[in-house]
Amino acid sequence: MAELPVNELSIIGAFGPHLSAKTRGTSADDPDKLVKTHCCFCGQQCGIQLKVRGNEVIGFEPWEDFPFNRGMLCPKGVKRYLQGSHPDRLLHALARDPSQPSGFRNIGYDDAIAKTAAEIARIQKEHGPSSVAVLGGASLTTEKTYLLGKFARVCLKTPFIDYNGRLCMVSAGAANKKSFGIDRTTNPWSDMVGTEVIWVAGSNVAECSPITTNYIWQARELGAKVIVQDPRITPVARTCDIFVPIKPGRDAAMFAGVLQLMIENGWVDEAFIDQHTTGFDAVAAYCKTWDVARTAEATGVPARTIHAVAELWGKAKSSFLFHARGIEHHSNGVQNALGTINLVLASGRLGRPKSGYGTIVGQANGQGGREHGQKCDQLPGWREIANPEHRQYIASVWGVEEKDIPGPGVDAYELFRKIDKGEIKALIAICFNPKVSLPDNQFVTRALEKLEFFAAIDFFLNDTALHADIVLPGSLQEEDEGTVTQVEGRVIKINKAVECPGEARQDWIIIQDIARALGRPHGFTFDSPRAIFEELRVASKGGVADYSGITYEKIERQMGVFWPCYSHDPKSGEPIDHAGTPRLFEPGSYNPVAKGAGRFYFADGKARFNVAEYRDPVDDASAEFPVYLTTGRVVSQFLSGTQTRRIGPLVAQYPEPRLEIHPRLAEKLGVADGDWATCETRRGAITLRAMVVTTIRPDTVFIPYHWTGPKSANRLTVAAQDPISKIPQYKVCGCRVKKADAAPEYASRLEAQQ
């Protein structure tokens, strides 16, 4: 029973989050070396040089030669180095021990591995292989995600593995798969400078992917018009040409309404649609039901704006469309993403230097982490676990029988429902903090408490790991090497700056040690990340996400390699030195799926229009809960805050979540700026200070989600999921807001970051 071993405050007292120093370097501290690597946080993966002295990272130096960011960094990148040598860093393995004040006692690493293996073996013997589940994450290197997928299927023989990209990339991924047969942004970001129109749908670019702002605004300096679709005037919306103040959860209606106007006015590229796509007629028939009046009514966007967007987008000669979690975090997320793709396909503006489409990934390895097999329905190389040919190929790479590879598992949230029902009894989790990051997270906490055995691998004791029986001290990003694939589809190399401190180990070593202790070492005897990558190259060969032509040396030489990158020419089968594929779908391009039939990754080479149907959100605003609640990020924090809530200067920048509310609504409720206000949904209530601003729709409130416990926005969000992608509907639900009678009980008990 993985209940908290002792009072939560006692655990926090021992393991934090506490704050790092404000800064570490002084001019007296000359570094021994500068290590060229990348930031550990978001999906842009900015190049950065870490200053290293002894076995400590003591600062950073901008890496101005790296082509994506050319030295630019957001505040998280600037202060990321402070996570090293942190007082909360786990230096030993821990075992739950309620007799200790902190709830845990240090144990030897080997003992922790042995105990973990023994519990897994016992539970699997009693309840079968599928009683054990694995959770991974998209901040892990691609090598680790590959190893984790193999570990679940080959060592544990369980179908139950999934990852936190389920909360991030899956709506876009599913839509890309249905439309293009490949799941990647189409162009390098440098292509957008010089385009005519950029449409940003549901992305707070300036706060969530700050460096992308420079590309968009450089395009604007050279004449591009910018459309921003958001319920809030975010920094990138402040100066945009057309602001689309959409009501949360209505995006598919907006896209259908705009496409209808394009069709009515002849602003579609009929030649492109005829030659390169299928399915347009069904989409056109659906859009016919979305005239401007109905679209305006559904979306809360005035008719004049819908006309203006359609005309600007419809008449453009070159364009980019980007979206992110704002349209993807919905029970209608896949439909929303398909709606954007339909607009792009209808325009015919794809596969050219100044025209393209993409989703802005959230996590470090949001792209690579969704390609090589830690997803419940997937095998390496973006292969499908239900496809017999794909299974056969991967079985041959892994040296196992095809029949011994389990079938598809379930998504991360469903996995917690299975824990709740008692079907899954043991969990190994790495790089995932579901107690903060999953919706309706008090349910998640109750499920965690039912586990018979829970092992967490982490470098800090995150909020979920408080429930663990065994904690294995893993590695920070700068303590290991490997590859990740960033927002543009560029595979880059993370380089090791320092060794793991204390008893901590690189994550891939820990996973292999568990396999060995279980007596199932077959396939888990890699001696380095490079060795794992070499097997991954083979495993991905022939898949859509083909990495076979990528080497660590090529990444370094080219400063990144865009996949697919082939070891053998897909047309002739001859070995080639392939530089990679920076731009997808170019005229005349060859891909191994279409085999010359066309540009897109289907047998006929044609892209698919898909009817992108609008549906009302689940738990929509109602008489009882009349206000829309939407959630998101702030620039100084990252995801569940496991790292950033420990970095002092980042906490100081925006210490605690605030409730953003328009003065019109605030006045009606008697709430003034700085007042404590309670936001309540059908799941729970939290009390935060109000921030009264005109930059949000008056029918909507916003709360950032990086905090835990009584400050956690995900106590409020609804666990409704998209039927295809299973992404949770974080971006809208009905809530009610009232002025709080008094300060919440946590205000005097907890520090800002706790």
């Binding site: 300036a206 706060e207 460096i211 100066t239 103040p245 100084s636 019109r664 601003v693 729709r697």
Partner: protein, 221 residues
């Protein structure tokens, strides 16, 4: 080592996203002793997300130095106004009061005025200042007039400012729109209405366009 005369700071508030990367990076510059010398403020957060970063303007005739009773503030030959010299500074705060841009700060814990010195250790050694290197939207840019002209055709640099009777010329430039610029979006409800409410703003640029009666005269489109 000096800062080459053709390299300048260019501040472009229209590009600021308020992320505080400059503030965080400033405190990592070796000579800043863990403190940030940058001021980054919301203009009026209740009504806008607009923020403005302020680095030292490096005046040709620095008011801070002129009012310093201890002669502790020096402008080096390359036009960079340095932090107060520790042996001389008496932490009186005259410079703090006098600077028209609000740049210097007195640090009571070390009885010293410190301010933006253009990361002199970096900029005098062929590197860009820390803030302008990391700024994700390049609201703080460090480079040549030719580079900024190519990158920002819709705005132009100015370095002459008037405060009452005082006219100040600076080494740091501020980017201002050429001609009329669309006013930024302030209230979501304006975008929700059936009638458009966009307006344009013309900023008077000293010595370039005739002074308007109202410095923020708004012209309906």
């Amino acid at each position: 080592m000096t800062v080459p005369s053709h390299l300048h700071f260019f501040i472009d508030p229209s590009r600021c996203i308020g992320c505080q990367s400059c503030v965080q990076a400033c405190s990592e510059c070796d000579t800043h002793k863990g403190e940030s010398m940058i001021h980054l403020e919301f203009i009026d957060r209740a009504r806008s997300v607009q923020t403005v970063p302020v680095v030292c303007m490096h005046c040709e005739q620095p008011t801070c130095a002129e009012v310093c009773p201890a002669d502790a503030i020096k402008r080096t030959g390359d036009g960079v106004v340095q932090s107060a010299r520790k042996p001389r500074c008496i932490a009186c705060g005259n410079c703090v009061m006098a600077c028209p841009f609000g740049v210097p700060e007195v640090y009571p814990d070390r009885l010293l005025m410190m301010k933006c010195d253009m990361c002199y250790d970096r900029s005098s050694a062929g590197k860009r200042p820390m803030c302008a290197t990391v700024c994700p939207s390049q609201a703080l840019f460090f480079g040549t007039h030719e580079e900024i002209a190519a990158l920002r055709p819709q705005s132009r640099p100015t370095n002459v400012f008037r405060f009452g009777e005082q006219t100040i010329t600076t080494r740091t430039f501020v980017m201002v729109p050429r001609g009329q610029a669309p006013a930024p979006l302030l209230d979501v409800t304006a975008a929700m209405g059936d009638e458009p409410q966009r307006r344009t703003v013309r900023l008077p640029i000293h010595g370039a366009v005739p002074d308007a009666a109202d410095p923020f005269a708004e012209v309906e489109v």
